[in-house]
Each structure stands twice: as structure tokens, then as C-alpha cells.
């Protein structure tokens, strides 16, 4: 049982907050970071979608008769798109909640 670590032994994923609260320059950096993150993510999903479209095109046009790459590309595109939809719904929900907040 030497391999099992006690619960307290699991390292914390979130680094502990030390020092003062982040200044404005950190905030702007965080904003750009999130925008970039989102853009990269949407690009990635778009890539998957295009890959699946190309795979289907290749199959239908007779360029290849192998159906497995189509399955692979479509499965990937489907999963990443579903995650994107989930994240989008969550973001919009958060926005609505913020806008409906009583001030």
C-alpha cells in the first residue's frame, strides 16, 4: 500500500494566492489571454470541422474509398464541437446572469 498517497499528499492544482491582489497590468494580460485562448479554441474546432468536411468530400468524390478516416474526422469534429457548444452556452448564461443582476 506504499503507492497510495494520503489525500493531503495530492498537490494543489491551483497555486496558493500570495502577496497582493493582481494589479491592472495583470488584468489586461489576463483579458488578452482569454481572448486568445477562445480564438485558438474556435480555430481548433474549425480545423476539425474542415477536416471532417474534406474527409467526406474525398469519400463522396471517389478520391478514397476508405471510410475510416471519415469516421475518425467526423467523431473528432462532433466531440470538439459539442464541447464548444457547451462552453458557449455556459458563457452566455453567465453573461445573462450578470446583466440581470440587481444593482
Amino acid at each position: 500500500m506504499a503507492g497510495i498517497q494520503p489525500t493531503s499528499g495530492i498537490p494543489a492544482r491551483v497555486p496558493p494566492v500570495t502577496g497582493s491582489v493582481a494589479g491592472p497590468q495583470d488584468k489586461s494580460a489576463g483579458k488578452a489571454g482569454f481572448a486568445d485562448l477562445l480564438r485558438n479554441y474556435v480555430d481548433k474546432v474549425d480545423q476539425d470541422q474542415r477536416a471532417s468536411a474534406f474527409a467526406i468530400q474525398d469519400l463522396v468524390s471517389g478520391k478514397t474509398d476508405d471510410v475510416l478516416p471519415v469516421v475518425q474526422a467526423v467523431a473528432k469534429a462532433d466531440l470538439s464541437f459539442k464541447l464548444l457548444i457547451g462552453v458557449r452556452n455556459k458563457v452566455i448564461e453567465a453573461y445573462k446572469q450578470t446583466m440581470n443582476m440587481q444593482v
Partner: protein, 138 residues
């Protein structure tokens, strides 16, 4: 891992398994089709073939399965059948037949198609579990 984590990994591994098993079925089909082939390009009867599969990736990275090569079965001998009426018979009336044995090929076919189904089931289950996880977002 990022976004890739949700869509690659299991999908790629399952697809590699599907591809390997489909090639096995192709080779089995070829064996069965050539069960009575007495002459190939080399002049010898057809030798049954098998697929050699290997694991892809390292100890830490899971890469699924890869097709190493299609190998001829040189271990089992050609069958010698007496058929003096055959044009390819030797002076004693014996004909060399391919070393394909149908019962064995049928068993291989069953295992290959079952393994194909298993890989497809893995893919489906993976999609289901991702969907289950995404339900939690709602």
C-alpha cells in the same frame, strides 16, 4: 492536452484498431479466395498470409496498434493431393495445393470481425462518455 484531449486519444486508438482488424479481414478474404490457387507468379501454390501487428507508442504514450507487415505462412506445408487428371500434376500424379485451410480461416474471420466490433464499441462508448461529461455543463 487542451481541446485535443476530448477528441483525440481514444478516437485515434479505436480507429487504429478498426483499421488493423479490417486489414486482417482483407487478408483472410484473400486467403479464402485463393484456397484452390495452385500457381502464383513464382510458380508455387498460394501461401496463406497473416497480418503482423505491433503496438504503437511508448510506455507513456498510448498510440494504438500499427500494421507491421503482411507475412506469408511458411511454417505450414503445401498440401499434396493425388489428382493425375490435373494439367499441373507431376509424373506421379500429385498436385501441390495451397496451404490455406478453410476452417482455420473461418475462425480467424470470426475473431477479426468480433475484434472489429469491439473497437467500434470502444469508439461508441467513448463518445457516450464524453456526451455524459458534457451533460454536466448544463
Amino acid at each position: 492536452m487542451g481541446v485535443d484531449g476530448i477528441s483525440s486519444g481514444t478516437v485515434d486508438i479505436a480507429i487504429s484498431g478498426l483499421r488493423a482488424q479490417r486489414l486482417r479481414m482483407d487478408v483472410i478474404a484473400n486467403n479464402i479466395a485463393n484456397v484452390h490457387t495452385r500457381q502464383t507468379d513464382g510458380g508455387k501454390p498460394y501461401r496463406r498470409r497473416g497480418v503482423v501487428l505491433g503496438a504503437r507508442g511508448t510506455d507513456e504514450i498510448l498510440g494504438g496498434v500499427q500494421i507491421l507487415r503482411i507475412a506469408e505462412d511458411i511454417a505450414s506445408p503445401f498440401k499434396k493431393v493425388r489428382d493425375p487428371g490435373d494439367p499441373s500434376a507431376d509424373k506421379d500424379g500429385f498436385v501441390l495445393m495451397s496451404n490455406v485451410e478453410l476452417p482455420r480461416e473461418m475462425i480467424e474471420l470470426v475473431t477479426a470481425s468480433r475484434a472489429y466490433q469491439a473497437n467500434a464499441a470502444v469508439l461508441k462508448r467513448h463518445q457516450d462518455s464524453i456526451n455524459t461529461t458534457l451533460e454536466l455543463l448544463r
